[in-house]
Symmetry: none
Subunit: 249 residues, 2 copies
DNA sequence: TTTAATTTGATCAAAATTAATCATAATTGA
DNA sequence: TCAATTATGATTAATTTTGATCAAATTAAA
């Protein structure tokens, strides 16, 4: 068993239990204690763990990987049917905005083979659209780990530099009174996308329709269309607005 | 059994078990140990595997963009020792630029647990530094799939908005006459990083030192330090410059 | 505080792996 | 065909890795 392999095992156990003991380690890996000690010293030297007397501890117990994909997988069927409707409105040559919503993310799989330009602040979208015919423009700025996207002043300014024909955006709530968000950062960047695109599609499942939550950041007449699985009853409130409603089963 | 066929078998087993042993390999393929060793060295040189004592291991299968990972795996030992020296100059609270060089990429593993702010145009760097104590700022702009990074006018403007204490950059060539790049896009963004940082470290292995290739984009006195494994003879040309030379074994 | 137990780093030695050198076999291209 | 290049193998020296011993440092206990 070479160092690389031992390193792997040590980091594995460290990840699992948070600590390792030199004696145990030497026994488990069938190496002498001094070799175990040397291994730990080397890893500590690279900042991969904290050396303690008789063992080592994990460096950053706080890091919590946020699983974006899980959120995107919720209600996958509903989201996919919304996206199938959305993709009917996307043609080769289009320049489109995509934000960091989990429904918008699922749009990626349907546009991979289109010859379009996508401008986005969502890292998962960027990843999904790599190595395909879509050309990508990344919105820069401070990266928010929870949302897996960039936000803030610089990101907004960056969007302001571009114009796109269409924007595909998610919201936390929508009603005849306007669009709602759970955070200011999210609200601002969505608003900027709306400003800089000729035609805005709001993608949202029925749970968001009629919901007026936290912060209203735009009037309903600022966007052109909504694509949703909400039923007629939920959508009735929009009948006095100019909003184009694209309803999916 | 020729090299191509052996290479196939080696990569096959590597894919299956994650590792190979020189003795076993020699026995299985019915070749001498030294030939097995030469095979592994050649494959390691192409970044297709990591060489270990007595065998080899698979390169990180999780990282998506294969070309980039392979490039980063080439000369991994040299790059890592360069990075270990670099990390000595990075302290908690620092704000640093990192470009999209393959050596610079390997710096990530050594700074994951530092409390610093990283501004970068490299997608692999972003991906590597997610979910750790490093806060990330993404340089926006058009995404170049080959380089796995953003470049161009908007990216340059974006960098111009920021100031950082230190920049860690790669180059395609460096001599007493200046810094050299293989493309204008690369040159421009590197130059912008240099302008916007108080202190610039150039990270490069010995193959880049003394090389004057394609496009000169900066004088040598525009950067402060070079971290390299080049020997005294190769570095002799810099003795009349103010460049700080950080030499690694 | 002092004492005992444990852990550690340094030094050296043994084992394993590797690089270097040279010789031989196989392949290639004229 | 033959010379030249390339691939392979054997040998040996150098390097790396590992382990053992022991004094010094650290921790825990009295």
């Amino acid at each position: 068993m070479n160092f690389q392999k031992r390193k792997q095992k040590i980091m594995e156990q460290l990840d699992r239990t948070g600590e390792v003991d030199i004696k145990e380690l030497a026994a488990e890996l069938d190496i002498s204690e001094i070799t175990a000690r040397r291994d730990l010293n080397q890893l500590a030297n690279d900042g991969l763990l904290y050396r303690t007397h008789g063992g080592a501890m994990k460096v950053d117990p706080l890091a919590k990987p946020h699983d974006f994909v899980n959120k995107a997988a919720q209600n996958a069927n509903v989201k996919d049917s919304i996206c199938r409707r959305a993709v009917e409105h996307i043609n080769d040559g289009d320049i489109i905005f995509m934000d960091c919503g989990s429904t918008v993310f699922r749009l990626c799989q349907f546009i991979k083979h289109k010859k379009i330009k996508v401008i986005t602040n969502s890292l998962p979208v960027i990843y999904e659209l790599q190595n395909c015919s879509v050309s990508i423009n990344i919105i820069g700025g401070e990266f928010n780990n929870e949302r897996q996207a960039t936000h803030g002043k610089i990101a907004n300014e960056h969007i302001a530099r571009y114009r796109a024909g269409k924007a595909f955006l998610g919201v936390d709530g929508i009603s005849a009174h306007g669009l709602f968000a759970n955070s200011e950062l999210e609200a601002e960047i969505t608003l900027m996308y709306i400003h800089q695109s000729a035609y805005t599609y709001v993608l949202c499942d029925d749970s968001k329709v009629g919901k007026e939550t936290y912060l209203k950041f735009a009037d309903i007449n600022q966007v052109e269309a909504i694509i949703t699985n909400a039923d007629d009853q939920k959508l009735a409130g929009f009948k006095d607005t100019a909003l184009t409603i694209l309803q999916v089963v």
